[in-house]
Subunit: 243 residues, 2 copies
DNA sequence: ACAAAAGTGTTAGTGGTACACCCATGC
DNA sequence: GCATGGGTGTACCACTAACACTTTTGT
């Protein structure tokens, strides 16, 4: 995409980006059973990290994050929310950044802007797991799904960033229609419950959950789904459009 | 404080700050009757703005905000919370920034870093109104309290920033002990109720409020206060320390 | 005595919990 | 029939709403 090699210029301006500002995205998906997030692994470094990026000079912060998501997932119109800014001094570790660049075969120029201190804005995204084929970026070997409770050790403060994202997601569970973005168009009550359980990290009473969800009046009930299992077929639901 | 005139250097680095990153603070206070915030007016411009500032190269984002609050209020240990990052392109209006500097008697150098685009992190603070004597900064004529519903027209997107701060404060009312930071050590139930009402912007039923607050178990009740008014003297309360 | 504001009791409604029970399906 | 999982009815509990009532104080 970029015509210049961003590791071969000294200033952010030459590279076309704003200095000192980055974003990290925690991209949640749900495979029907478990909550997962996308993690990148950088070439030849054994470093695992959240997908992140920088803001172009003529681009809003939100657009920068959307651009990064589009490059990695192919999706547009993603549900996206800011949750925290990470601006401590401890997260400034130029050695790590240098390792990543060298691992990718780029030897950064003297005083390269990428080795400066960055303040990072944390975003979380909710996407439909089925409709995505994750793509690694230029510096990464892979970009794949990891269960939220089986993450590899992440670089810098990224483990804390994930924890904060999950915490915010929990707080927003009732306010925003989280399930709508993580589930396919039609789903069973059991699937919706599993989404809630994996976000909250605890079991929910089946009967209570069913009643409280229906009481919200945000679901449409459709004809039953015959699964071939030896038990009663569940109703299938979808979210009401106007909600 | 600063030895260099920050308007007379081209790069943020020379001034000792990070480029492109600012903060704006919405500082809430409560005078016993109404919710107020601190607003600065710049010299000779008729521009009203939120108190804001920049991040030094060797300073965390949180510390930068605390430093700014200390300079304006004299207070340390302020209750502080991030609420949103404002990173749109529309907020980049270098002409306004130039007016402010010229109004303050500073003629910025060519390509001054202060005329670049900034992404701003919004913080809100809760402080004890009585213990503060607001101080204007170098570029401001004044820094004073305005009722939240009688603000002057603010520059750029600052009106929206205030709205977002208030919205976040509302959402956090039950989660965080907001009253503790806005009220003096001891207060009546009526005062606490007025804080809640002015944040929510609506009246609350007196009896319900009293019962729900007491049910939380976070208040200590002290001897009654004789106000000299012709009615029953109210109890005085304080927040429990461990909460 | 009266007005004003504080504090409490009483009843009803709402929404979650716990448990029981019935229903549909494939073996 | 039976195991399995889905859906609903019922009794109970906690919290809030609405309203009435009593208490305390200064004039």
């Amino acid at each position: 995409m970029d015509k210049v090699d961003i590791t071969q210029v000294a200033t952010a301006k030459e590279a076309g980006y704003l200095a000192h500002i980055a974003y990290d995205s925690v991209i949640f998906g749900f495979d029907g059973k478990q909550l997962k997030i996308l993690i990148s692994e950088y070439h030849n470094t054994k470093l695992f990290a959240l997908p992140g990026g920088f803001v172009k000079i003529n681009e809003s912060l939100d657009d920068a994050v959307r651009r990064g998501l589009r490059e990695r997932t192919g999706l547009d119109n993603i549900y996206l929310e800011q949750f925290h800014v990470f601006g401590s001094l401890e997260r400034y570790i130029p050695e790590t950044m240098e390792m990543i660049m060298k691992g990718g075969g780029h030897n950064p120029v003297e005083d390269c802007w990428l080795l400066d201190r960055f303040i990072s804005v944390g975003y979380y995204a909710l996407i439909n797991y089925e409709s995505v084929n994750p793509q690694p970026d230029e510096l990464s070997d892979s970009c794949c799904w990891y269960n939220i409770d089986q993450l590899p050790t992440l670089m810098q403060d990224h483990t804390m960033i994930v924890a904060k994202a999950l915490e915010t997601l929990r707080d927003n569970l009732d306010k925003k229609l989280v399930g709508m973005n993580l589930l396919p168009e039609r789903f069973t009550m059991k699937e919706l419950q599993t989404v809630y359980e994996s976000i909250l990290g605890q079991e929910i009473r089946r009967t209570t959950f069913q009643r409280s969800m229906l009481a919200k009046g945000i679901l449409n009930r459709h004809e039953k789904q015959f699964s071939g299992k030896s038990h009663k077929a569940p109703f299938v639901y979808s979210f009401k459009k106007d909600a």
